[in-house]
Amino acid sequence: MENKISYLNRTYSEYKQALIEYSKKYFPDITIDYDDASVASWLLDINADIADNLTYHIDRAFQETNINSATEPNSLFALARNNGVKVPGPKGAMAEVRFTCQLPLGDNEPNWDYAPVIKVGTKVSAGSQVFEVLEDIDFSKQFDVNGNSDRTIVPVMDSNGIIKNYKVSKLGVVTAGEMRIYKQVIYPSDIKPFMEVIIPVEGVMNVESVLVFDGTALTKFPTYGQFYTNSEEVCPANGNSPQISRFFEVDSLAQQTIWGVKNNDNKPVVDVYSYDGVPTYSITRGEWKNIKKKFITEYTDKGYMKLIFGCGVNPGEAINEDAADYNKYIMSQVIANDSLGELPKSNSTMYVLYRVGGGKSSNVAKGAINTISLLNVVITGSSMSIVNGVKKSLTVENTTPSVSGKDMPTPDELRYIIKYNKGAQERCVTTKDYIDRILRLPPKYGTPFRVNATEANNKMMIHVLGLNNMGKLDKTLPTALIENMMDYLAAYRMINDFIEIKSGRIVNLSFDIEVAIDKNYNMADVIATIIDVVNNYMDINKHAMGENIYVGDIKKEISKIDGVVNLSRIRIWNECDGGEGYSTDQIQQELVGNADCADNTFRDEETTKPMVDLEASDDVLFGNDDTMFEIKFPEKNIRVIPKRV
């Protein structure tokens, strides 16, 4: 045995044997035996036991460094941090809700002066579960921010059939949980690099905003407007002191820019777009802004949310005023380096707006959300009695069950999140990265309806399609949207990627469906069902850009319909003449005959539209990378030719 320790020993008996051999070799004159009663054996027992205990703790410590064997929450959290994973907190369930109110008569329509705007922060509830409205719900608009039509108007008539008022419903999205404000006074002793603030409440889902006011004796809480100010310096409500700063959450303190609203003369730049002269949607211009006031959040191993600020300090506080100017400058390069973010000022008051609640218990059934517990509404009409009447008439009901409510991840879930997060990168490398990144552009900046990215001629080709006021595909690309996309992608694209953004292609289709219908069934009902089935299958919301359409699937669905005895034939036409709002884009696959399709046996009018050769394509409509198929007018583009049998 060499004069060194064997690191292969793992157990008490191995250690003791090694120590006895060591003593026999290097101290043979001290003792002649090592049986249990000898004092030397007793002393070696103590050493072997200490070594065994240390080995156990080394094993435990090593176990906690391995993702598969770690059991302590703080070990898993540390592993998550080291792997760049932000541990998610509890998630609030989301549900679609329908707000309904009664509006007075206007000029052949509801009087929109009294249309309520249900503001962010309005609370609705299902028993003890509180949900909050996340975006303003404006009853005066037919569309939501994504361009979807979500308002219905039903006239309410009296016994004589005269319209009394209108029942107007508007859809919105609510999420479980509620906003709360945490206040903390920041004293000079609190200020240190990477200062941490822990919100002493369990179940915090996320931090919305942080405001820091000068002064320590403040009694008023900030307004939501101040919390959501789009700049680091917030104008005080009355235009004078105290000075207010907003801190923004970032993914890492090294992040120097955030995507936010572009301002012009302190006002957001918003482009409004119209169809037929009617303003239908707006796109807010966005830009990357440099920030110094920033923080990151993470959960402690006890489940509390922690805010971590940067390490740059106010030069006036850290650098001695007696120093010479140049020396102050030199010192500021080191001491007041704010690239990782500024610290809040001392002798100030911090207000943290956060969301709490959610969790698995926030998943409730359809219709369970039926109480407005806190109404934050704006109605511009002048008559207070009508305004109060409209407010009183407001009701709410969830049209879908609330889903996706989730507790904090369990240790097992956390292990999987850490393992499978390795590949995720905050940059665009593949075409899929570009698609994913564009779709993460917040809706108010004009997220396109469908986007696809391909590599062509060493360029990244991005094709986008939007929706028009009728909810149909639209190739128009608003300038603001393109500028937003270009600016947004600039921070993520690879340095040598050249990006070109173009409109996608819309291929409008019409269907001729020849079927035999059982004479015992109502023919009109069967035809209506066939039209519904085809329309439903071709619904643009169910397909991605570039996706193939398998006609065999449509045939299968039609054959399943009660009353359909036989599906004889399907013919698909490419409506590409540009008339009636059709697109002029032609389908890129083999056609029957030529563009002046001669086979119009089942068409009432003469047509010049090409018919797709389904036999040549094995019943597949091939979607090119830039193409989406659409049935523009289902009522006339899906024609059923029945035969009674």
Binding site: Y12, D29, I30, T31, I32, D33, D35, D36, A37, S38, V39, A40, W42, L43, D45, I46, A48, D49
Partner: protein, 128 residues
């Protein structure tokens, strides 16, 4: 020539003139004596990883000072010494009162040591 010792002396002491931190047993008999005392003064359960090592003398501390107690005490010591100290046969134990101290007793353990084919009778006295 290097002097051969037989083990660490028990109870611990450092009265030697050599450059050795603890006194060592210089003879085989000293070693046996150290081992017997080590067994006698270690209550069972105290030795790491060897809870059976030692004696249960502490359990007799409040027993009546009569023949029954002495008999069971002797039996216990004999078993334990035979178990942990090889080549030694426990023969008897004598207990005397300390004339100078009512609370103290002098215990003399008598035993024999087998060395090859020689058997040597000896004893160790302990004040408790």
């Amino acid at each position: 020539m290097v002097k051969q010792y037989y083990g660490i002396k028990y109870p611990f002491s450092d009265e030697n003139n050599d450059e050795i931190y603890l006194d060592l047993d210089e003879t085989y008999e000293d070693m046996i004596k150290s081992k017997i005392l080590h067994v006698l003064f270690t209550p069972k359960g105290q030795r790491l990883r060897n809870p059976d090592f030692g004696t249960d003398l502490i359990k007799f501390i409040f027993n009546p000072s009569d023949e029954i107690t002495f008999d069971s005490l002797k039996k216990q010591i004999k078993v334990d010494i035979n178990k942990y100290v090889p080549n030694v046969n426990f023969t008897d134990i004598s207990i005397y009162e300390d004339e100078n101290n009512d609370n103290s007793r002098m215990v003399i353990v008598h035993y024999t040591i087998t060395k090859g084919n020689k058997v040597e009778a000896t004893s160790v006295a302990v004040k408790i």
